[in-house]
């Protein structure tokens, strides 16, 4: 029987950094991935002369070599920085509305504030108050948790104690009176999956803080380049990777991991498994139900599945300027609502007035697509469940009907797009489900309610001995959190090994 120090299930962001982290410390690690390429969400695919980015819009936490952010430091510790080229985006985000309203924010605190002050002179004081609070909160959060203050207190960190669990909309309502401004500063809810009345202020504060302080980034060659670079490091440190090879079972005996069985029926002996698969799949499909400790399903049952997404990938036979696209990250809004009402379109199949984000990487990186062309990735959040009720025979028709509606929304702002389309691919919630293997195609794992944040749930740990998790299912989701989740899972395994 084959034997490994650790087996990592899934080569998504978390699985990759976990396996690379372990292999770097000399462990004999097997990485198993169902798909033929590494990356999970962090992949690309080719159509014609285009290579489309699947999921990365704005990489957070990178910073510059002079002022490195946490993610840059993690990637440096894996030794992959030399194999990658990061592209800083000067834009924070742009907002476009069909009535002609436009707002373009640069990833710079002073400029963000001055642009907002200019558009909303009556809210000048509020705008400053908001960003002061964002920074105060973020700095207190970092001091207490990232730099691990040994004696934190409410007196030292008043904003942290007051705002960590407070819903974002309550904070916004206290500060702003202009509903448009409030909602413009809430557009990042799309990166988190819940409207601001259901998200804690903490998420918004940290997102603004990391994007402004460490800038949003993209990667030459897309997120696939990151996945390939980490895989490459893993392999060169002696790791074994098998693609096109899923896992059928995690063998658990007497409450501890004994090994795994692959889809091909190979038995592999190991004491440690890091699962990059969803917790739902891990506990209901991979581990035998009698080996799942009491309480695990009950704990998980309190959480809910995040939305999936409807995504269009378009390759144009012209440069972005010709289409009127001048910014990398564009939020297309059709209304100023950021309350629970945004959940209604997410719960239906059809597309009409939802919020969308359209990323055109070529604006920041002219080499992203072939010369004289550009590509966009347009995404809107959709729960997977309504899509699961579509009869298979109707699937293609409905998929194209929705895509047509999405295209019309884009045409309303960039009228010339259709005559320049050279390639176009559509991904529905079922497509995301297919490639991620997530129940209901949930792209963000479980929903990121405060009650399900890292403070309140088991995170990467499992009551099953030797089993750890590294993914967007164990707390925060997104590129930076999942990449770092894998690093943490590797550390947990190493710590456990050293203590034995």
């Amino acid at each position: 029987m084959e034997k490994y120090d650790a087996v990592v299930i899934g080569a998504g962001n978390g699985g990759l950094t976990a396996s690379a982290g372990l292999a770097r410390k000399g462990l004999n690690v097997l990485l198993l991935e169902r798909h033929n390429i590494p990356g999970g969400c962090a992949t690309s695919f080719c159509r014609g002369r285009f290579e489309f980015e699947v999921a990365l819009h704005q990489l957070s936490g990178m910073g510059t070599p002079e002022k490195p952010g946490p993610l840059r430091m993690s990637l440096a510790s894996l030794g992959v920085l030399d194999d990658l080229e990061f592209v800083e985006m000067s834009d924070l985000f742009s907002v476009w509305m069909p009535d002609g309203f436009r707002l373009a924010l640069k990833a710079d605190k002073t400029r963000v504030i001055s642009v907002l002050e200019e558009k909303f002179p009556h809210q000048k004081e509020a705008i400053n108050r908001f960003f002061d609070l964002v920074y105060k909160y973020a700095n207190e959060m970092l001091a207490a948790f990232f730099f691990k203050d040994p004696s934190p207190s409410r007196e030292k960190y008043p904003a942290l104690y007051k705002y960590a669990f407070k819903p974002a909309n309550e904070v916004m309502d206290d500060i702003f009176s202009d509903p448009l401004l409030k909602n413009l500063l809430s557009v990042y809810w799309g990166y988190l999956g819940l409207p601001p009345n259901r998200l804690s202020f903490a998420y918004f504060a940290m997102l603004f803080f990391v994007y402004i302080e460490f800038k949003p980034f993209h990667i030459k060659g897309g997120s696939q380049a990151l996945s390939n670079a980490i895989t490459n490091k893993f392999l060169s440190n002696g790791g074994t990777a098998r693609f096109n090879c899923g896992v059928k079972k995690i063998i658990v005996k007497n409450g501890a991991v004994q090994g795994v069985i692959t889809e091909d029926g190979d038995h592999i002996e190991t004491k440690y498994v890091i699962s990059n698969a969803s917790q739902v799949t891990t506990y209901t499909q991979l581990v035998d139900s009698e080996e799942v400790p009491d309480g695990v399903l009950r704990e998980m049952g309190g959480r809910s599945l995040s939305p999936s997404a409807f995504t269009m990938f378009i390759g144009f036979d012209c440069e972005p300027g010709e289409l009127g696209i001048t910014e990398t990250t564009n939020f297309l809004l059709d209304g100023i609502d950021a309350t629970d009402r945004v959940l209604n379109p997410m719960r239906r199949v059809d597309i009409s007035d939802e919020t969308m984000v359209m990323s055109c990487y070529d604006v920041s990186d002219p080499d992203f697509s072939p010369p004289g062309t550009c590509q966009v990735n347009i995404v809107t959040l959709k729960y997977g469940e309504p899509w699961m009720r579509i009869p298979p025979t109707q699937y293609h028709r409905i998929k194209y009907r929705c895509a047509e509606s999405m295209l019309r929304r884009i045409e309303a702002i960039f009228p010339d797009v259709r005559k320049h389309i050279e390639e176009l691919e559509v991904a529905t919630p079922l497509t995301h489900m297919r490639y991620l293997g997530h129940p209901n195609g949930a792209i963000y794992g479980f929903e990121q309610y405060t009650k399900d944040s890292m403070f309140f749930q088991p995170g990467r740990h499992s009551p099953i001995g030797g089993l750890y998790f590294a993914s967007g299912w164990i707390g925060d989701c997104g590129f930076q959190p999942t990449l770092q989740a894998g690093m943490s899972a590797a550390k947990s395994v190493l710590r456990k090994l050293n203590s034995n």
């Binding site: 033929n36 380049a225 293609h396």
Partner: protein, 385 residues
């Protein structure tokens, strides 16, 4: 920081209550078990068990196999897509993609149409040995060659060579049988008229339906043949279709046909985005390919060390994937034309020839990955599967 300070944060008690409530009325995830696989199998099963319900003679070198599902379920597909058959012949585990030639509205079966390939291991088997009732294993439907209603024109100009007619047969049948608002011009090139697959059917549809225009083009016509002859030229296309604006062009056939017809279309001023090409397997004579290292002959043999273990021999003139299959190596495959990247392998040392058009991801190129179905060894190799 050891102290769990979050318990002192404002709102903590409310959240603890919320957790209890949500667990009490929570989701039973046990019912999700294999829900993802079940859902996805309705559209994209990785494997299907089929059997042959009918074998239809088309031409002297071509037959159509009608395939029904062993469990009664066939996933939907788009006209133009293919399935790959997975077979084990003379001890070799291999696969071949075949376009579904029946229309998608025919939900009871798929048809695939097979033309004999000289010394073709699989085509000879499918044409000479399989019989009604035999089982076959296939992939789910796949492929990017279909009419995309979002940006393709309603008038389709199709150019087919040889067995490249199959996707268009599916499309034409769907258009007439479902009454779609689309028109098709189909130019079908063959050596002689007897080779033209579905000729009678297409002629008859062309006679009956105003929106179907079928035009066989014969390279070596028999005496007295009155239709167009030679190659499918830009002039011929222009003469038949009139103004090329608001038409999308689709090509399916051997590489030689693309090499000839694409420049002809470009000469008519048709932009790249209006020209769609189907994949059609690996180039047959790689040594004649532009860029091939002249000094290397097709029969030259190189040593390939696989996964640090066994070393096998591979011929320069044969795709690396085929050499691996012949030695019993397990390698995933689907399109066998360079497009799907299923058969991606890492070249640790040595060199392969891979045509420049093969869509390999940029970072895959950076880290030495190739698509082994269209990569040909030109040196001794060490590879990682």
């Amino acid at each position: 920081m050891k102290k769990p300070i979050f318990k002192e944060f404002d709102g903590y008690n409310g959240i603890v209550e919320e957790i209890e409530t949500s667990r009490k009325y929570g989701t039973d995830y046990a019912v999700y078990r294999d829900s993802v696989d079940k859902q996805i199998n309705l559209l994209h099963p990785s494997r299907m068990k089929l059997h042959i319900s009918e074998i239809i003679d088309e031409t002297s070198s071509t037959k159509t196999l009608r395939l029904v599902s062993q469990d009664g379920y066939l996933p939907p597909f788009l006209a133009g897509q293919y399935i790959a058959l997975f077979l084990e012949l003379s001890g070799i585990r291999t696969s071949r993609p075949y376009t579904i030639s029946s229309p998608p509205n025919q939900t009871g079966f798929y048809e695939i149409t097979i033309r004999r390939v000289e010394d073709g291991l699989v085509s000879n088997y499918l044409l000479d040995e399989v019989k009604k009732g035999d089982g076959l294993e296939s992939s789910g439907p796949a492929g990017q060659f279909y009419h995309n209603p979002l940006f393709h024109d309603r008038t389709m100009v199709c150019i087919a060579g040889g067995s490249g007619i199959t996707p268009f047969r599916s499309m034409i049948r769907e258009i007439v049988e479902c009454g779609l608002e689309r028109a098709i011009y189909i130019f079908y090139g063959n050596k002689n008229l007897n080779d033209a697959i579905f000729h009678d059917e297409l002629r008859s549809l062309s006679d009956r339906f105003e929106n179907i225009n079928y035009l066989p083009v014969i390279e070596e016509p028999q005496e007295g043949y009155e239709g167009p002859t030679g190659f499918i030229t830009g002039d011929l296309i222009r003469e038949i279709i009139g103004e090329p604006a608001e038409k999308t062009f689709y090509l399916c056939g051997p590489q030689g046909m693309y090499d000839f017809c694409v420049p002809e279309l470009e000469r008519l001023g048709i932009p790249k985005r209006k020209i769609r090409k189907d994949v059609y397997g690996a180039p047959a004579h790689i040594c004649d390919y532009p860029g091939w290292p002249e000094e290397i002959k097709a029969d030259e043999v190189f040593a390939v060390k696989v996964d640090g273990g066994p070393t096998i021999e591979a011929r320069a003139g044969e795709p690396l994937m085929l050499a691996l299959e012949k030695k019993g190596m397990k390698i995933s495959s689907l399109c066998r034309s360079g497009e799907c990247s299923k058969c991606r392998v890492k070249i640790l040392s040595g060199k392969v020839f891979q045509p420049a058009w093969v869509p390999v991801r940029k970072s895959d190129r950076q880290f030495g990955y190739v698509h082994s179905c269209v990569s040909f060894p030109v040196a001794d190799l060490e590879i990682l599967l």
